[in-house]
Amino acid sequence: MDEPAYTVVSDSETTGEEKSSSAFPEIAIGIDIGTSQCSIAIWNGSQVELLKNTRNQKMMRSYVTFKDEVPSGGVSNQLSHEHEILSGAAIFNMKRLIGRVDTDPVVHASKSLPFLVQTLDIGVRPFIAALVNNVWRSTTPEEVLAIFLVELRAMAEMQLKRPIRNVVLTIPVSFSRFQLTRIERACAMAGLHVLRLMPEPTAVALLYAQQQQLIVHENMGSGSEKIALIFNMGAGYSDVALSATAGGVSQIKALAGSAIGGEDLLQNMMRHLLPDFESRFSNHGMNEIKSMGLLRVATQDAIHKLSTQTAVQIDVNLGNGSKVSKLVNREEFEEVNQKIFEKCENLIIQCLHDAKVEIDDITDVILVGGGSYIPKLRNLVKGICKKEELYNVINPLEAAVCGAALEGAVASGISDPFGNLDLLTIQVTPLGIGIRADGNNFVPIIPRNTTMPARKDLVFTTVRDNQIEALVTVYEGEGEKVEENHLLGYFKITGIPPAPKGVPEINVCIDIDASNVLRVLAGVILPGCPHPAIPVMEIRLPTVDDGHGWCAEALHRTYGSTIDLETVQKKI
């Protein structure tokens, strides 16, 4: 096949497949941008190596400080004290904020952070600003992330002495495709090309697969299939994956994830210590920011201590005569966060159910992320999986980035003489994808946990006689009603030949290709006619931009249910 002679400008922000131009492919680096911490790793020719910054840190805080003219991030910046991040001038937790609209509960929960998160609650992007010289200066999560990535890239380029372009990034399972485009956008702003976006627990699964391969090689064993349950709790997200590994190939059986994490544990605990902390903080004055910063640091510190000791004394002077002085024990911490732990439990149970895996068949249970140090969580996971011990030959904070670096090497076409890169992860779709039909219902066409690449279709029909148009609104998620899901895009099918309602067959096909590009195809067929009545439509998604919550309402207001679709009922 000839290479096309001309290229045109794309207005699509999502990145596609990388073309191979050189005989010596560049090894893509792995990046794990956590809500709280970030790390970067690369396959150095024989093993994965974590890169360190000039202060010899492998784990770098994910934040960007806006000071005077030049912003600086957690890669290069020398923190004099933790409180510097909490002065209002630094933006952090961008992974929790990226690609979310201002009606999102996660955005609302971010309002008690020291920088400004303002919402209008109408489904547009929230207003985010940092305090620079007593002025709130606006920014976006994408911009903050890009500034941070530029620092990471500069650091890696300096150490590896070559330009860095290709990256593999880990992402939370619960990220919508719209959020993925925001991550790709931030990378593009930083001059990085995303080779792959990997759900965090699948990166851990890849590392586990490599370790199991090594064991097989050493023992010359047969290498039977091993089933691993991976639970990851970071500061912003919790994810579960079940993988079946044999011979270096991991089939992901199921994924589950939610935007719950250490940040929620922290906020619940702060509320416990100072019940009116949110209202005290609502005006974001200099003094309030300072006292919230003090409370945050003290609470964080206490939570960390509660992982190793059963009680901790908290003494913090918030200024203006208010003080928090309290002895908190581990039970209290667990009770305050009971709902979070319940949600974790539900995620694991849902994942096991979707994977159709029996608990007795699980070979190893792997707990990673900052949350893996919490005794309650360790016991909970062990309890569900009926295991005495957790898999312990993996560094819980480095596992995801190591997996991403392995994937970077594999996807760059690098091979290893000892077979250490003889690896493959077969991914599944983390969320269902479907359209709005039967009123306000979400009808999934590709259910969650379908092996990729995937292609599935479903037949719909018109709701009125002589309906000549139909609106196809594509959503991603698990909710029964469309508004509980993420809007990905919409288009109208026009020119449907006039016919009684229920007669035209409107076939909607969803295709996710090998590079995770999503396309929707829609065609109309009239009974008795072998050919499509009108040309088939092919739409690449997501097409929505910021303010997509707004769009759905506008569509509803304009069209009501006049150009709706209905599923063709299966008879009993």
Partner: protein, 269 residues
């Protein structure tokens, strides 16, 4: 009304084919190797996209009944490797062991052949998952990233077909429908059974599912349904072995009913 409209269309997926432009390299071209300062590349910088038109879409829009017969004349792709011209050493030839390149998709190859199985309904093959992984390790698109566009397209198609074959063969009902299709018998999944006893039974199960208070109650409904599925799957095997296709068809219809309630229960669990 709907039962009068006969299904004339083929699944859309068949119609449009898998020949979508898999690698229309749309991406940002904002990288500048000389620019290592921490300035952000402006988003308004020129972005470049390869103009790759989809393969002629219309040529795939023919509603032809596919010849599923594995005994067809072009049975095996006896052609040599497209890349190195080596003669295939093993069948099925999806991957050339000489130059390690993925071969083009041959629709004449059926799912049983892909997995090296005889065309029997009962596949007491414990190693289906292993074979699936073996194929993926050779064919998966992730592994041919640095190869030519042509081979990457082959990999996308082959890998998708191996997945589809695995999915079809591991489910007793879809395997039954598929193996009948290979015999030239099309199963209309929408066709109804006029056995009042079965219909009453299904109705009762549905009601029980709706009334079920917890997962324990659901599990109690589930196990007899799954037993019935196994029972009819065994009957199908018998009928198919003895070439009693009408009886086999009847079995698939019953399996369809139980399979549907099974799915409904699993969804609620």
């Amino acid at each position: 009304m709907m039962n009068k409209t006969k299904k004339l269309w083929k699944p859309f997926s068949d119609v449009v084919g898998r020949t979508l432009p898999y690698s229309t390299s749309r991406r940002f071209e904002t990288y500048n190797p000389n620019n290592t300062s921490s300035h952000l590349s402006s988003s308004s910088q020129l972005q470049i996209l390869n103009l790759c038109l989809p393969h002629c879409f219309s040529q795939n829009l023919i509603f032809s009944g596919k010849n599923f017969s594995s005994e067809s004349a072009e049975k095996f792709n006896n052609s040599a490797c497209w890349n190195c011209n080596a003669v295939p050493k093993a069948t099925p030839f999806l991957f050339c062991e000489c130059c390690r390149s993925v071969q083009p998709l041959h629709h004449s190859l059926d799912y049983f052949q892909i997995y090296g199985l005889d065309k029997n309904y009962e596949i007491e093959d414990e190693n289906l998952e292993r074979k699936y992984k073996d194929w993926q390790k050779k064919l998966h698109p992730d592994l041919v990233h640095s190869k030519s566009q042509r081979e990457r397209e082959y990999a996308a198609e082959q890998s998708a077909r191996v997945i589809e074959a695995y999915r079809t063969l591991t489910n007793p009902l879809s395997r039954a429908i598929y193996i009948l299709k290979l015999e030239g018998i099309d199963v209309n999944e929408e066709e109804t059974v006029s056995d009042p006893e079965l219909l009453t039974e299904i109705m009762e199960i549905r009601e029980a599912v709706e009334d079920a208070a917890d997962s324990k109650a659901l599990n109690e409904i589930l196990s007899p349904v799954q037993e019935k599925l196994i029972q009819w799957s065994n009957s199908f095997a018998n009928a198919f072995r003895n070439q009693k296709f009408d009886e086999a068809l009847n079995c698939t219809r019953r399996m369809t009913y139980y399979d549907r309630v099974n799915k409904e229960i699993m969804k609620k669990l």
